[in-house]
Amino acid sequence: MRDRRTMPLGWDEAVDLERDPAVVPDPAEVEVPEALRASITAAMQRYPDRHSAVLPALAAAQKVHGWCSPEALRQVAAVMQVTPAYLSSLASYYDMLRTEPIGSRYVYVCTSVACHVRDARAVYEAIAQEARDQELEDVEVRNFECLGACDMAPMASVDGRYVGPLSEDDAHELVAAVKENREVLPGRGLGDEGFRLPWEDKA
């Protein structure tokens, strides 16, 4: 679990002078899983400029490797013929790309203004606490900026599935379901069969 306000990775570190510079890898020198190579190559063909494929490519590599690891970036760099630094620069810019091995799945708890005024902070803290208590592993649990679901505030995105409105009381079950790989809060996910906001039922 990473507090995004702490110092970013690498800020305080010197380079390793013993290592080689990270240049564009020669394709002949890097082994890439075939499915990943195919998905990146397909993405490059969708755009007039292959660089446009870099976000799809990084997302695909993250799926395979769990995070944007140096090896993941090297593979993308070899297929796209760009430098690994170009990819690092992007991976560290976008919130959904992980530059640390902090989990191959995620729970984003929205804490922006509309959720804030509905006690999202407490919901987030409860979920974070549960995650610690239940020793949830390989899942990135973090507070997130507005997820575009203020109507269901406070809410969270569990691997892209939006659930809400949440209260602190939901934290235990939410984390347990994530841990056990069950569907989180069935019926309370946006897009679930017959999903209704509480006040819509009343209406």
Binding site: S52, P56, D95, Y108, S112, A114, V117, E145, D159, Y162
Partner: protein
């Protein structure tokens, strides 16, 4: 005028509307077919311009006029649909895409014809995983039908459409940042000029429109510009999606004609603050809009009236704050959002958002004096107008408005927090904790 007027969302209760079969049964793609086969590019452009349709992404610029800026010539031109909806308080595009993805695709076809674009992109924020998947499925259906690809609807027009997912950065909703992100760069805003209409994606002329804007175009082509212009008020024609959230009883999206009184939206449609609570303030157009208060409830909800009141209609995303919410944590939350989302490219935004957060933290922790409030207000002034894009202003304006409307509360908070902190220090000192912890005294 009161209540909703469902035009854009007329069929939204239809089961399986997201499927081609259903959408077409209800008349879908008729407008795109008409535009591709029976109308010239100029006719499409003229109808859009005549409808008075304004961009629904926040700036409210005439969509037809914007499309008319695209220069003639043989160079490749592009249409980008901005589906990066990330403004706190905004969630209308999410609903439009997930309920009716084909409507957006049809809108993209019409927009592309108007802009002579042969390639279109829907830039959707990565967090909208479900919506992106639905769009992907709908795009596949449209390709299968020949509504996308080469010779759409059997015409001479080609159109490739790609759904491009972002990976989490608010600033990509800024149109030039969106272009950089789509080109595979860090999503930093570009210097303007050149404007996207002249030099946009891959340096080519590019029309960028919001999801809701494009979703409106099929009905305009179907019913004619006069039909559209007859709705709404003055320069704000048609209907508008309004997202209401925060401390209200019935948060949600409402399709209304602009000009509807603000009170009607907050209290009529959204049920007002919870029982026993009173309205403190509201953001009329997303978190970037300066807050307004009770005195503004009876204003008509229009671009002009909101601007005159010192705020803006923006994305028409209304965040309602009731009187249980203290202003300082609200301001801190807001400033923290913009600090996190600042791209860091230009100095006033990068340093100004950070400085503002630091000052608010001090205020909250009892480490500030009322003088800091003055400095904080001046810092906001120093940000406004000096940045590369509007993100800096988007923090500075609402923070400035909060200081303006709630100065007294800020000052009380400062004093109360100082007193609490002092008490804590005295207690800690008496208990001998201070020296042991090696902690410095209050600043």
């Amino acid at each position: 005028m009161t209540g909703q007027l469902k035009k854009l969302t007329a069929n939204y209760d239809e089961p399986d509307l997201h499927r081609m079969e259903v959408y077409e049964r209800l008349g879908g793609y008729g407008s795109a077919r008409k535009a591709a086969l029976d109308m010239t590019q100029e006719e499409v452009l003229d109808q859009l311009e005549a409808s008075g349709l304004r961009g629904r992404g926040g700036a409210g610029f005439s969509m037809g006029k914007k499309a008319s800026f695209i220069p003639e010539g043989t160079m490749e031109k592009y249409l980008c649909c901005n589906a990066d909806e990330s403004e706190p308080g905004a969630f209308k595009d999410r609903v439009l895409m997930q309920r009716n993805p084909h409507q957006l695709i049809e809108g993209c076809i019409i927009g592309a014809i108007a802009a002579q674009a042969t390639r279109a992109f829907i830039f959707i924020r990565g967090e909208y995983e479900t919506q992106a998947k639905m769009l992907d499925a709908a795009v596949t259906e449209a390709y299968e039908k020949g509504y996308l690809g080469s010779g759409i609807f059997g015409s001479q027009t080609d159109l490739e459409l790609v759904v491009h997912r972002g990976q989490g950065a608010y600033i990509c909703g800024e149109e030039s940042a969106l272009l950089d992100a789509l080109e595979g760069k860090r999503g930093n805003p570009r210097l303007k000029p050149p404007f996207p209409a002249n030099q946009g994606l891959y340096q080519g002329p590019t029309l960028i429109n919001n999801v809701e804007t494009l979703c409106n175009t099929p009905a305009i082509i179907e019913h004619g510009p006069e039909w559209f212009a007859a709705m709404g008020v003055d320069k704000s024609t048609g209907t508008k999606m309004v997202s209401v959230s925060g401390n209200v009883q019935r948060a949600g999206n409402f399709e209304v004609e602009l000009g509807i009184p603000v009170r009607e939206i907050i209290y009529g449609l959204a049920g007002g603050p919870p029982e026993g609570r009173d309205l403190k303030c509201f953001f009329p157009g997303g978190s970037s809009a300066p807050v307004l208060t009770k005195e503004h409830l009876d204003l008509p909800f229009t671009y002009e009236a909101m601007a005159e009141a010192g705020s803006m209609l923006g994305t028409a995303s209304m965040i309602v704050v009731d009187d249980s919410q203290p202003i300082v944590p609200l301001a801190l939350n807001l400033a923290g959002f913009y600090r996190h989302e600042s791209c860091g490219k230009c100095v006033p935004c990068r340093e100004g958002t950070n400085w503002t957060v630091h000052m608010l933290e001090r205020i909250d922790q009892g480490d500030a004096t009322p003088m800091d409030l003055e400095i904080m207000a001046e810092v906001q002034t120093n940000i406004i107008g000096n940045c590369l894009c509007v993100l800096g202003d988007s923090m500075a304006m609402p923070i400035g408005s909060m200081i303006k409307h709630f100065r007294g509360e800020f000052e009380q908070h400062i004093e109360a927090a100082r007193a609490a902190r002092d008490r804590e220090h005295i207690r800690a000192f008496s208990a001998g904790e201070l020296a042991a912890a090696g902690e410095a005294g209050p600043a």
